[in-house]
Amino acid sequence: MIQYILRRCLYAIPLLVGVNILTFILFFVVNNTDDMARMQLGQKHVTEQSIQNWKQQHGYNLPLLWNQQASSSEKFTKTIFFQKSMGLFILDFGLSESGRNIAADIKQRMWPSLSIALPSLVVGLLVNISVALMMVLFRNTYLEFSSIVLCVILMSISSLFYIIGGQFFIGKLLKLVPISGYDTGFSAIKFLILPVLIGVVSGIGSGARWYRTLFLEEVEKDYVRTARAKGLTETQVLFKHVLKNAMIPILTGVVVVLPLLFMGSLIMESFFSIPGLGSYTIDAINRQDFAIVRSMVFLGSALYIIGLILTDISYSFVDPRVRLT
């Protein structure tokens, strides 16, 4: 397995280089270095001299990808791409264009993102599985039919509606929790109740229906019929046998998103004033802060690759038929 993991890590390097080049090209197709300087220097009294000074100070006075004036390997190394992107491979994210340390910012912002994303995932998973099992348990009753209708309704509502509606009903009318905000430690709990609740409720529709499909597929299998023939009750069949076997696709689906939980959620964090990473990239794009954009795209790609590797590993754990070679 170690060999497999090493091989996958090596495969990741060209992928990350490719992502880096693509990000670089896309960013500089839309913006040039003069545009970036103007954006950072503000709108008033910006002179050509100050633009040149800014570029020199921030290392944007070099050619983008190829330095014709330089000699030998410097043709490649004395370029904006090399100077700005290579550090990422040793996780040196550098400074943002406004002078803040990106690694320190990421380290600070990823925990609030995680504090909302992780409970939402865990609670959501438990609730969705419970609802799905209940639908299977009560299949062919009015409860299953009305649950499916409810799930379709819940799926059809925009996530923004859940957020604004939740804030209005629970925060404004019932006044049970703060409408928005964040704090550290245990004080964060009162701020997380509402976003987690909304995250869970908004995900029930799609989640419960998906898990119901998985469970229904399982309940038709031969081993379930055998279990019933043995005289097990329906609840024993569902919780002891069906749930265990249906966990394989559930687990692999969850593991792949685990690393990405650090990246946060744009809308949720915005509305609840959670100081996470959700809006970090979007804000950077709006401010033409290339340093942050490249760092976040790199980090997102790396985490996604890690997620895929973890999925493969977890698959081998839960399904003995799978071998990683």
């Binding site: 503000g42 001299q49 340390n101 009560f138 049970l176 905000g181 704090d183 004033s273």
Partner: protein, 698 residues
């Protein structure tokens, strides 16, 4: 058993304090003199040499103290000493170095501003003032994660050299000060210093025109006469900077932890920054070293009646702490304001109708709900202007030809900005009659102040000219009903904009309709910000929307926007329409060097007449700011020039606590009802399931 549980549950609910469960602040902060405010966009810079945005001035305006400030209550805006003992002593010199009279503009080669500051003013406590903290070893730096990790804090007295040091920082190209380009034209030796300093520390060289005359006195020599320079002296750019701060923050390793001068200011002001997390919260606390500073005892007429002089002669600041929380969305912010968790609020378009109603004569008034909560509304015309600009280099609508001018005049009449303000601004604006907004010297009201090209004076009010007048102008320009007789086709004009979102579509359609009144076909060219700026720089745009927010309350800061030597294409300046009129330029050069008086006023009126006639802009509107304040927030008066308003304001903590408790009683019964409903729904299903299970067994 069930009854017992129910009784315990009810007892639990009734014994709990269910007030303010939704309080976003820690319970130990209750009852303290803390102002709660917010910011929607993180500040980029808190270094006074670099910072130039209103959202940054909110913070640094309370921390750094320039030598002068705007009087909080008096209008029109006037400067007064802050750390200075008196207004600057201004002396004029000719090229030979002899003193000359200030009115003899022709012979003035230099102006000296001599400033004396008060002794005994001290900086906030800061680690930079301890020598050992400026010589940290790498292993010591490794253990530091925040400024609060330093055990030893120090302070020292403010001296004149700190002001001079800051001016040198403005000239340092490494700092990228946005006003360096402006100041090099005025401060003697500024440009030379910028060119010579290179990678060296600014301590090693001097600017020839900036001199320390003593511990508490310094002098700035500027080229020629520039009366507006005094306004710059009241801006954070000219606040003092202790050299120790720069040495401290330059230590290798601190910036890796985002501990830099750009993020942690060091000042003498009423507040200092205790928490700096621009992603979540910024906290200012009262500076224990703050010098004696008393609330003004005089204001303008009516201030006393409004209770604005109740704290006269009392020592400031009144508020102990200010917590700014990042709130990106307006809806949660607004709801928290209504719950009393924010002390003040702007009014977004979402909540405008809930907060404000217009009465008979167009005056804004709070709705009954807001009044019942004791909320107060304050409105003020900002010292800003939004306009539609015509690129004067354009062959169709630009230039000084009679035809082009008449088209511009006709468009000025056709675009009904009164309607625009009503639809898109919720009435928050004043139609502009010229370049100068209300409150700026030279602004005139009533008949004398109207733009006669666009408006008539009817029954004591200005009235936009009829569309017939605009059509007549179009005929005279050679485009009857907007059609070019030579081609038989409608005149097509291009409108460049960065308004590309779906929300902007109604606004763009409105502009199309305004042009259609004259038979002109308007083509909207929506583009991204970079391309738009490029079009402006190269002069390839035809019409566009633009705005200006005054740096200081002087007409020069508006008229320079049409001075030909500030042309965008030729000089990269702020004259975005590239307007060039020799007479206007001549008058501008005269006016900018003059002190306020009858002669200056006459010139200003002439300049207004020229631009009204030439119409390089469709004078859009002066935005009106609407702000809401809770009744417990005292001493609030709109002052659009002052950055340090916070120290004047006061919170009635008792009243706030009372109202918060009253407004925030938690409501539980809907949850209980929902739970009972769930049980009712579940019960038959459980019964059905049990019945089925039994059947299977059978």
């Amino acid at each position: 058993m069930y009854t017992l549980f129910l009784t315990i549950f009810i007892l639990f609910l009734t014994s709990c304090d269910v007030s303010q469960l939704n309080n976003p602040y820690p319970p130990n902060k209750t009852g303290k003199s803390i102002l709660y405010s917010s910011f929607s966009e993180r500040p980029n810079h808190l270094d006074p040499a670099i910072s130039y945005s209103a959202n940054e001035n909110v913070f640094i305006g309370q921390i750094y103290e320039p030598a002068y400030q705007y009087n909080y209550l008096k209008r029109p805006y006037q400067l007064e000493p802050l750390t200075a003992t008196k207004m600057p002593v201004i002396e004029y010199f000719n090229l030979q170095g002899d003193k000359v009279d200030g009115r003899d503009i022709g012979s003035i080669a230099f102006t000296d501003y001599t400033i004396t500051i008060k002794p005994g003013i001290k900086y906030q406590f800061h680690p930079a003032f301890i020598e050992a903290n400026r010589k940290l070893r790498p292993e010591q730096i490794a253990e530091i994660n925040a400024l609060s990790d330093f055990d030893q804090l120090g302070t020292r007295e403010l001296i004149a050299a700190d002001y001079v040091y800051q001016i040198k920082r403005l000239a340092d190209p490494k700092k990228q000060s946005p006003i360096a380009g402006v100041m090099k034209n005025y401060i003697l030796g500024f440009d030379e210093f910028s060119k010579q300093i290179g990678e060296q520390s600014v301590s090693l060289k001097n600017i020839s025109g900036v001199e320390v005359l003593g511990r508490y006195r310094y002098k700035i020599r500027i080229k020629g006469k520039y009366p507006q320079f005094k306004f710059w002296l009241a801006m954070p750019f000219f606040a003092p900077m202790p050299w120790e701060a720069e040495v401290f923050y330059q230590q290798q390793g601190l910036s890796d932890k985002n501990i830099s001068l750009d993020w942690f200011p060091v000042g003498t002001g009423p507040y200092y920054l205790t928490e700096n997390n621009p992603n979540q919260r910024m906290v200012l606390a009262k500076n224990p070293n703050y010098h004696e500073d008393k609330y003004p005892s005089e204001g303008e007429a009516g201030d006393k009646e409004k209770g604005l002089l109740l704290d006269a002669e009392k020592l400031m600041p009144f508020i102990d702490k200010v917590v700014y929380t990042l709130e990106k969305e307006t809806i949660p912010y607004w709801n928290k304001f209504l719950q009393g968790y924010y002390d003040a609020s702007g009014i977004s378009s979402d909540s405008f109708d809930q907060a404000v109603q217009f009465i008979g004569d167009g005056d804004a008034k709070l709705t009954d709900t807001m009044e019942a909560k004791g909320i107060r509304l304050q409105t003020a015309v900002t010292t800003s202007i939004f306009y539609l600009g015509f690129n004067m280099l354009d062959p169709v609508i630009g230039g000084g030809s009679v035809s082009a001018r008449k088209i511009r005049q006709a468009i000025s009449i056709a675009i009904d900005y009164e309607e625009y303000i009503s639809i898109f601004q919720n009435g928050r604006g004043l139609p502009a009659q010229g370049m100068l907004p209300y409150g700026i010297y030279g602004y005139e009201e009533n008949k004398a102040g109207i733009n006669p090209v666009v408006y008539d004076w009817v029954d004591g009010q200005y009235q936009r000219k009829s569309i017939n007048s605009a059509e007549k102008l179009m005929r005279e320009a050679g485009y009857p009903k907007g059609v070019n007789p030579a081609t038989g086709e409608s005149l097509v004009l291009y409108f460049d904009t960065t308004s590309v979102s779906v929300d902007d579509r109604p606004r763009m359609n409105w502009y199309r309709k305004q042009f259609a009144k004259l038979g002109i076909k308007l083509v909207i060219r929506a583009t991204d910000y970079n391309r738009f700026q490029e079009k402006m720089r190269t002069g390839s745009g035809q019409m566009f929307l633009w705005g200006w927010n005054a740096d200081y309350p002087d007409p020069e800061n508006f008229f320079f926007l049409l001075y030909s030597k500030n042309g965008k294409v030729k000089y990269g300046g702020e004259n975005a329409v590239n307007y060039h009129n020799a007479e206007f330029d001549k008058l501008f050069e005269q006016m900018r060097n003059m002190d306020n008086g009858k002669q200056r006023l006459e010139i200003i009126q002439k300049m207004q007449s020229i631009v009204r006639k030439d119409a390089p802009w469709v004078f859009g509107f002066f935005p009106k700011s609407f702000s809401l304040f809770h009744g417990w927030y005292k001493n609030v008066k709109p002052n659009l020039m002052a950055n340090n308003r916070l120290k004047y304001t006061r919170i009635d903590v008792k009243e706030r606590e009372l109202k918060r408790e009253q407004w925030n009683q938690a409501v539980f019964w809907p949850l209980i009802v929902a739970f009972i409903f769930f049980l009712i729904v579940l019960f038959p299903a459980v019964r059905a399931f049990k019945h089925r299970a039994k059947e299977t067994v059978q």
